[in-house]
C-alpha cells in the first residue's frame, strides 16, 4: 500500500543529505570537542559549521546558538534559566494559553516556586491580543514567552509587533519565543525582531531526534539548568552531541535551500489542500485563521465525528495525520489549544491536524483529498444516531 505521510509537525524523516553528514561525522569525527588535541579541535569545527548553517537562516551571529537535547530542553532552559536569573527584579511572567506542554509545564513548575504567571487568551483564530499583553505588563514582569507558530493549528502570533512593543518599554522583560514549529518554515529573525531567546528543534527540520538549539542574544543572561563540565560557555554542561548537532546544521542548510528555491511552495500546497477539502467536504471547518497561519499546518474539524477514529480510518488507507484530542471511553481529553480558541466540543473532538513539508508533493495532496472523503463518509455512516 502506498503511504502518504501528513504528520510532519509531529516529526520529519531524516533526508539523505542529513543522513550522509551524520554518518560521516559518526565515522570520522568521534572526538570530544573539549579535548585539547586535534581530534577535539576537529569536532569543535563541526559544531561551528552547524552553528553557521543555523545562524545564517536566522540572520544572527553563530556565537548566539546553544545546542540542547531538543526543543523541550531549549524551552525549559529559556524559561527556567531566565526566571532563576531575574527573580530579584520580579517574579511575574506572561505566556499564552496555547503554548506547547514544554512551556506550560515549565511555568507550572515556576508557579510552585512562588512565581506568578499570566496566561494570555486567544481569539477564535488562535491569536493573542496586543492590548491584553500591554494591559498585563507590570513593573515586576521579567519574562514573556510566546510561541511563534502553534503546533496544533499553525496560527501565527505577531512576534514582530510584540518585539517592537517591548523595545519601547523602560524595563524590558526578556522575550522568549518557542520557534520549534516556525524554524525553517516561516520568516523568523530574532535579532531584528527583538527576540532574546528562541527555541528550535532538529527533528522538525529533517534532522534526527535528540538535538535542538536555543538562540540567546549576546547581552541576555540566563542561569544554566544543567551542571557539570561547563561546556557551551557554562550554559549547557554535557559533552556535545556532535552527530546530532551536525545533523541539525545540515537540516537547517537543507530547509534554507528549499526556502531559497521556492519560498511559497508550502503555501501553495496548503491552499490546494484547503480548497480541496472545502469543495469536497461541505461540513469541514478550518480551525484557526486561514490568513495568519503557517504554511505547513492545517487543522480541520468534522463536527460530530471522532478525530481519533478518522485518524485510524485514514491509517487504514496508509495516510498518517494526527489529532490533538484523544478519545477514550473513560475520559474525553480535548485539545487545550482548540478549547482556548473557543471551539465547541463537537468540533474539537472531530478535529485532525494535517501537516506537510517540502517533501510533500502535489500528487500526494491530489490523492489525499478523495481518501479523506472516503474515510469521512465511511465513519459518518456509523456516527451515534
Amino acid at each position: 500500500m502506498k503511504q502518504i505521510y501528513l504528520d510532519y509537525a509531529a516529526t520529519t524523516p531524516v533526508v539523505p543529505e542529513v543522513v550522509d553528514a551524520v554518518t560521516d561525522c559518526l565515522k570520522n569525527d568521534f572526538g570530544n570537542p573539549s579535548s585539547m588535541h586535534r581530534l577535539g579541535i576537529q569536532a569543535e569545527k563541526r559544531i561551528k559549521e552547524a552553528k553557521n548553517h543555523i545562524s545564517s537562516l536566522l540572520k544572527t551571529s553563530p556565537d548566539e546558538i546553544i545546542f540542547t537535547s531538543g526543543g523541550t530542553e531549549a524551552n525549559n532552559m529559556a524559561i527556567l534559566g531566565t526566571a532563576y536569573d531575574k527573580k530579584r527584579s520580579g517574579m511575574h511572567c506572561i505566556t499564552t494559553a496555547i503554548e506547547h506542554p514544554s512551556v506550560l509545564q515549565a511555568f507550572k513548575h515556576l508557579e510552585k516556586q512562588g512565581f506568578e504567571v499570566t496566561y494570555l487568551t486567544v481569539d477564535k483564530n488562535g491569536i493573542i491580543s496586543l492590548d491584553e499583553l500591554k494591559a498585563n505588563l507590570r513593573r515586576d514582569t521579567i519574562l514573556i514567552s510566546i510561541m511563534h507558530v502553534n503546533n496544533e493549528t499553525g496560527s501565527i502570533q505577531p512576534i514582530h509587533e510584540i518585539g517592537a512593543l517591548l523595545e519601547g518599554l523602560e524595563r524590558k522583560p526578556v522575550f522568549h519565543v518557542d520557534g520549534i514549529q516556525a524554524f525553517g518554515k516561516v520568516p523568523l529573525f530574532p535579532d531584528r525582531w527583538g527576540i532574546d531567546l528562541l527555541s528550535m528543534s532538529g527533528h522538525k527540520i529533517h534532522a534526527p531526534k535528540g538535538v535542538g538549539a536555543l538562540y540567546k542574544r549576546k547581552d541576555v543572561r540566563i542561569q544554566p539548568i544543567l551542571f557539570g563540565g561547563n561546556q557551551q560557555g557554562g550554559l549547557r554542561s554535557g559533552t556535545e552531541n556532535i552527530p546530532g548537532i551536525v545533523g541539525m546544521g545540515e537540516g537547517a542548510k537543507w530547509v534554507a535551500q528549499k526556502l531559497a528555491d521556492d519560498s511559497s511552495y508550502l503555501k501553495r500546497l496548503k491552499d490546494k489542500l484547503i480548497k480541496g477539502i472545502q469543495e469536497a467536504l461541505l461540513n469541514a471547518v478550518i480551525n484557526g485563521s486561514v490568513g495568519e497561519s503557517a504554511p505547513h499546518i492545517l487543522n480541520v474539524g468534522f463536527p460530530g465525528l471522532k478525530g481519533e477514529i478518522l485518524l485510524h480510518a485514514l491509517e487504514e488507507e496508509g495516510v498518517y495525520v494526527s489529532t490533538g484530542s484523544a478519545c477514550s471511553s473513560r475520559e474525553r481529553k480535548l485539545s487545550h489549544v482548540l478549547k482556548a480558541m473557543g471551539l465547541d466540543n463537537r468540533t474539537a473532538e472531530g478535529s485532525i491536524r494535517i501537516s506537510i513539508s517540502y517533501l510533500t508533493t502535489t500528487e500526494e495532496i491530489d490523492e489525499f483529498i478523495p481518501t479523506l472523503v472516503r474515510a469521512v463518509s465511511r465513519i459518518e455512516r456509523f456516527t451515534r444516531r
Partner: protein
C-alpha cells in the same frame, strides 16, 4: 556441597494411576519455565523435583512460583551424609538467619527425616544432637517446638538436604493435564484473570481477541498482546487470534435495535470464539464475566449470551467483586497493563440505554436482520494469528 531448589507438588499425588503422566507434564512445564536459565538441570526423585546447577537463585525461584502444580519450594544445601558437615552448614544457615533478624531472642526447632536407614543416627537423634550444637554456639537461641521463628529441616536421603525456607507457590495443576480452552481476551482487567484461574486448574489456553480498527487503535491490540504474553509466564505458549470485528459491529449498528447492540455483539463474539476453539482443539470457552458488573452481565443477559453457543463456558469470576478481581490482577502482574489508557472509541457502538433484561426470542429475531453466517465466516477467514 551444592545449592539446589527442592520442589514439592501436592494435588497430583491424588491422581493414582495417572500420577506418572501428571509428573511428566509438570516436569516438562518446569523445564520450559527455566529454559532461559543457562545450564540449569531439573531432576526427579522420590515424589519431588530438584533444580540444580544455576547461578541466579532469585530468577529460578521467581520462575518456579509461577508454575502451576508446584505447592512450595525450598532453596537447600545438598550435602554429603556426614554429621559434622551437616552441623557446619546448619551453623552457617543459623548465623545468617540471626544476622537478618531484628529480635534479641530467636526460637527454633530442628525437624529431621531419615529416608536412608543406613545413616547411623535416627531422625530423633539428628534433631536432638543438631539442636544441642546450635544452642551451644548461639546463646540468643531458644527451642520452641510449637511455634518457632524458624524450622531447620534436615532430610537424609541419597544426599542430605538442609533448608529452612518454604516458599509457597501457585498450587493448582500442571497446565496441559486438563485439556484446552479458548479465552475471550479483551484489554480489560477481568479476562486475563479468568484465563489465569482456569489455567491454574491445568487447562492450556488459546486466546481470542476482537479488534475493531479504526474504532480501536493498534496500540490497544499491542496491549492485548502484552496481556497474553504475561499469561504465557504462567501457562506456557498461547496462540492469540485477533479477529477483525468491525464489519459485524457496523452491520449490527445499521440493522438492529440500538438497545440490543451490546448483547448481539457478545453473542457474535461467543459464536466466533466457539469456532476458533473447535479449530484449536479446545473444548470450552472462558470469559471474565461477573454477575451484574455491566449491563451485558446481568443474569438475564448472561442467559442470552450463553445460549449463543453449545460449548460449555467457564466464568471463574462469576461471583467475584471487582476489587477481588483487581487484587488477583495485581498479584499476577496483569493489572498495570490492563489499566493502560488505550481505551477504544467503541462508544459509537455502545447503546445509550442497553437492554438489561433481554429476551432470547427477540434477540434471535434481531440476529436474522443481518447475514450473520457470512459475516462470521469472513471474520474467521481474516483472523491474524500471533504465537506467544
Amino acid at each position: 556441597m551444592e545449592k539446589v531448589i527442592l520442589i514439592r507438588y501436592g494435588e497430583i499425588h491424588l491422581k493414582g494411576q495417572n500420577r506418572p503422566y501428571f509428573e511428566r507434564v509438570l516436569l516438562n512445564n518446569i523445564k520450559r519455565a527455566l529454559k532461559d536459565i543457562s545450564g540449569v538441570k531439573v531432576l526427579k526423585a522420590q515424589g519431588r523435583f530438584y533444580v540444580e546447577n544455576y547461578s541466579d537463585e532469585a530468577a529460578v525461584v521467581d520462575a518456579l512460583t509461577r508454575v502451576f502444580g508446584i505447592v512450595s519450594i525450598s532453596p537447600a544445601y545438598k550435602l554429603d551424609k556426614d554429621f559434622d558437615t551437616i552441623t557446619q552448614y546448619a551453623q552457617m544457615i543459623m548465623k545468617d538467619f540471626i544476622a537478618n533478624s531484628q529480635k534479641d531472642v530467636l526460637t527454633f526447632k530442628v525437624e529431621s527425616r531419615r529416608a536412608d536407614k543406613k545413616f547411623p543416627m535416627d531422625s530423633m537423634t539428628i534433631s536432638r544432637e543438631l539442636g544441642g550444637r546450635l544452642l551451644r554456639q548461639f546463646p540468643e537461641l531458644k527451642v520452641d517446638v510449637h511455634n518457632p521463628d524458624m524450622v531447620l529441616n534436615v532430610e537424609v536421603r541419597e544426599y542430605t538436604y538442609i533448608y529452612h525456607e518454604m516458599i509457597p507457590c501457585a498450587g493448582g495443576m500442571p497446565v496441559g493435564t486438563n485439556g484446552k480452552a479458548a479465552l475471550l481476551l479483551s484489554g480489560g482487567i477481568d479476562s486475563p484473570v479468568a484465563g489465569w484461574m482456569i489455567a491454574k486448574r491445568g487447562v492450556a489456553l488459546t486466546a481470542v481477541h476482537f479488534h475493531s480498527f479504526p474504532y480501536t487503535s493498534d496500540r490497544s491490540k499491542e496491549k492485548v498482546i502484552e496481556l497474553a504474553r504475561i499469561l504465557t509466564r504462567y501457562c506456557g505458549s498461547i496462540r492469540l487470534h485477533v479477529v477483525p470485528f468491525t464489519r459485524i459491529q457496523q452491520e449490527l449498528y445499521e440493522k438492529c435495535p440500538d438497545e440490543q447492540l451490546t448483547i448481539l455483539m457478545r453473542r457474535s463474539m461467543m459464536k466466533i470464539a466457539q469456532e476458533v476453539a473447535k479449530r484449536e482443539g479446545a473444548a470450552a470457552l472462558i470469559t471474565g464475566e461477573s454477575i451484574g458488573q455491566v449491563a451485558s452481565q446481568t443474569v438475564d443477559s448472561l442467559v442470552v449470551t450463553n445460549a449463543a453457543v453449545a460449548m460449555p463456558v467457564f466464568r471463574p469470576l462469576i461471583g467475584f467483586d471487582k476489587i477481588d478481581i483487581m487484587n488477583i490482577a495485581s498479584n499476577i502482574g496483569t493489572y498495570e497493563t490492563s489499566i493502560l489508557p488505550y481505551e477504544d472509541c467503541c462508544t459509537v457502538f455502545t447503546p445509550r440505554h442497553p437492554a438489561t433484561h433481554p429476551r432470547l426470542e427477540k434477540i434471535i429475531k434481531s440476529e436474522q436482520l443481518i447475514d450473520e453466517e457470512v459475516l462470521i465466516k469472513e471474520a474467521l477467514e481474516n483472523i491474524e494469528v500471533i504465537e506467544l
